[in-house]
Amino acid sequence: MGVDVDLTVIWAFIIAFAVFAYVVMDGFDLGIGVLFPTFEPGQERDQAMNSIAPVWDGNETWLVLGGGGLFAAFPLAYAIILPATYPLVIAMLLGLVFRGVAFEFRWRDKAHERFWDFSFTAGSFVAAMAQGMILGALLQGIEVQDRAYAGSWWDWLTPYTLLTGFGTVVGYALLGATWLIWKLEGKAQAHARQLAKHAAIGTLALMGAVSAYNLALDPEYAARWLSAPEIYLTAWVPLVTLGLAVLLLRSLGGEGQSLPFWLSIALFLLGMAGLGLTIWPNVVPPDVSIWDAAAPQRSQAFMLVGVAITMPLILAYTAWAYWVFRGKVGTEGYH
């Protein structure tokens, strides 16, 4: 039994890692998409897009790992969450279609470059918003009966999910703007820094709002954050977040090149830790725990072998691909 429990917990952390990797890596891609119209057509936009063109596909693959991993390790959760958030998932997928093809199409058709720029932005916004709302729909709880979603097909649309949706859009914009601070120079960089300041304040405000709303959502959530003894285990999250917020705002005021980006990632990590602590050990609140949803041990063990072998390689060659395209994007074109 002990082995069972361990594998399921390990898999919960692997999925959480995949989701986190997706959120920060495609997060900055989508954030750049959302901010794209504020950059001047021509060189600024070309540079912004070139800064992610070689890596966006790899970044998006983490979404497939998150989904595929959930399917494999927690098939019941996959089978409940996706029908429950059906319109959001479809909207996200179509948004990703428009976003993804824009990377190629805008260079292939000069006459319609502006149209594909719009497609890039609209697709990024819809995908980001839908992802945030899926998260919200999960956190607010999903009605389940007989191993299936039992709610109506509008349950996902509430003020809370709209809040988590906007929070995600603004948070991604923060990641995108801080990435661009790192990769751009001169006037474009100054513009990115300005955007990042607004996005940072927006992100912090919306994180606060979502956290407060969470406490009102479910008394069990509130108990976890506000009453002893749980508070001794959880209080570090808001405290460290506050510290990070101060560091982030200070680095944005200064000349930091890559630091704002790393601090924004840390902020997202804290946000995810907070959400994880809120719903643990459920994978589909309020009723389905990770153990209820877990695939049999044989399936989890088989995949764990694959993860153990491939994940270090994946991280290594992904890091290498980033290294190849290191540095400011403006100083050298891609040939």
Binding site: G42, Q43, D46, N50, A53, D57, G58, E60, T61, L63, V64, L65, G68, G69, F71, A72, P75, Y78, L82, P83, Y86, V89, I90, L94, V97, F98, G100, V101, E104, F105, W107, R108, K110, A111, E113, R114, R147, Y149, A150, W153, E185, K187, A188, A295, P296, R298, S299, F302, G306, T310, I314, Y317, T318, A321, V324, G330, T331, G333, Y334, H335
Partner: protein
């Protein structure tokens, strides 16, 4: 109950539509990735400019096809959950790990090295760049390996037991599940199909440019390479397809009955029907025209061998015959046309007329898209032929779908149809436009440098200014948005 049946049919149409559209891109990119690896390898080995030019020519096309394959593929990986949640819950413990392996061993590999392959030529050494191209090519193959294993398990499920909660749980070794009975045949048949599809696209493009200028040595090289592929691989594919068919006869006889249009059993030799209108209502093949006993000869290697018909299969377990019967004929017909083109090209080579036999070039152009038609027809044959099951003999399609209302599925289906035709239609147009450009010395490849005068002082140094956009891009003055279409 009736509205559920509606939602089920809509979900089936949506899956068929999205997977058919999706498969067009990997059918092309699996072969094209390997072709690019061959071109770059030949370039590194021989140092000949023509290989580098062809590499860069096809790389631009690959970039677009791959992007469309990625975005339409993500839809597939989520659609199991959105629309087939009962199937996902039940089959997840068995096929979920295989799909996870696809992500871990293939998708990351392709995506991780794609950026370097497309944009990294001047940032890494030649050897490292070639490695990146190879990794992308290997990745496309590994991806095919796992997803075809999943599909094959759904066709010929083995090595599982049904758990108390209704899930199918892995019982035998994973090796037995991965290498389920139909998998080796399906893998070989599908991967060769992808290579042939690409070969005929490359051949069609080469032929197009040869018609315009039979001295174009880039067009000559690509046409020659493609025709070698057609001549050598089309016969292998027909043999592989035959083996796959025999395997299907052993494991999914009802599918073969539908492919053959055999409503009736034939105790002493079954005919091979060349034409007929399947009539499921009356359980007979109308207007049938066939060659006596040939089906028994092909399937059993004996003229008088008895073959069972659909009259031995309960009505509720029969696949719809019409789509299976005709899709199979389309696929086989194209296969033999491919064989014919390959033979014709050998004849042309013998006579020294490979590059100026205009009718051969016209035929090759007409056959350019034939691989796509054949692979889609092949998938219709095998997927519709598996009906009424999602997991053959284990889980019915009717019992697999998500608890969604018909309006929800109808809305998403309409959205997919509009978006796919618009977006992938435009993408295909861009690909055709690139193909219409004559391959030439000093191809640019995927270039992403800023064009025109420096607008912001001092950011981009002069030397990197490069008219790197497409040669066919409109003049710089015409940058105004003409969007909204």
């Amino acid at each position: 109950m009736f509205e559920n049946a509606d939602a089920l049919m809509l979900a089936r149409i949506q899956f068929a539509f999205t997977v058919s559209f999706h498969f067009i891109f990997p059918a092309f990119s699996i072969g094209l990735a390997s072709y690019l690896a061959v071109l770059e390898g030949l370039w590194l080995k021989t140092g000949k400019q023509v290989y580098q030019d062809l590499f860069k020519y096809w790389l631009k096309i690959f970039a677009i096809a791959f992007a469309m394959g990625v975005v339409s593929g993500i839809v597939m990986s989520y659609q199991f959950g959105t629309n087939w949640s009962v199937f996902s819950d039940k089959a997840g413990p068995v096929i979920g790990p295989l799909m996870a392996y696809e992500v871990l061993t293939a998708f990351f590999l392709e995506a991780g090295f794609l950026g370097v392959m497309l944009f990294g030529m001047n940032r890494v050494g030649k050897g490292l760049h070639f490695t990146a191209t190879l990794m992308v090519a290997v990745g496309t193959f590994i991806s095919a390996f796992w997803i075809l294993s999943v599909n094959s398990w759904m066709q010929t499920p083995v090595g599982f037991i049904e758990g108390a909660n209704g899930q199918y749980l892995p019982e035998a070794s994973w090796f037995e599940i991965v290498f389920n009975p139909s998998f080796p045949y399906r893998l070989v048949h599908t991967v060769i199909a992808a290579y042939l599809t690409t070969a005929f696209v490359v051949g069609g493009v080469g032929a197009w440019h040869l018609l315009k200028d039979s001295a174009n040595r880039h067009a000559r090289k690509m046409f020659s390479m493609a025709m070698w592929m057609a001549a050598l691989v089309a016969p292998v594919q027909i043999f592989a397809g035959d083996m796959h068919g025999l395997n299907t006869l052993e494991h999914q006889p009802a599918k073969v009955m539908a492919m053959e249009g055999h409503y009736e059993s034939h105790p002493d030799g079954a005919p091979l029907y060349l034409f007929g209108i399947p009539n499921d209502e009356e359980q007979r093949l109308d207007y049938a025209f066939g060659i006596p006993k040939l089906s028994s000869l092909i399937l059993k290697h004996e003229l008088d061998a008895p073959l069972d018909g659909l009259d031995t299969i309960a009505d509720e377990d029969q696949p719809p015959v019409f789509p299976v019967f005709w899709a199979f004929r389309v696929m086989v017909g194209i296969g033999f046309l491919m064989l014919g083109i390959g033979a014709w090209s050998l004849l042309a080579r013998l006579r020294g007329r490979l590059y100026d036999w205009r009718w051969l070039h016209r035929a090759a152009i007409a056959m350019g898209p034939s691989g796509f038609v054949a692979v889609i027809a092949g998938w219709i044959t095998t997927e519709v032929g598996r009906q009424p099951w999602t997991i053959y003999g284990v889980l019915r399609t009717a019992d697999s779908a998500s608890p969604l209302d018909a309006p929800a599925v109808a809305t998403s289906l309409i959205a997919f149809v509009i978006v796919y035709f618009a977006v992938f239609g435009v993408g295909t147009w861009y690909i055709l436009r690139l193909m219409s450009q004559s391959p030439h010395t000093g191809e640019k490849g995927v270039k992403r440098t800023e064009k025109g005068p420096v607008r912001t002082a001092g950011i981009t140094p002069g030397p990197t200014q490069n008219p790197g956009r497409d040669p066919d891009a409109l003049p710089a003055g015409k940058e105004e948005a003409t969007d909204g279409r």
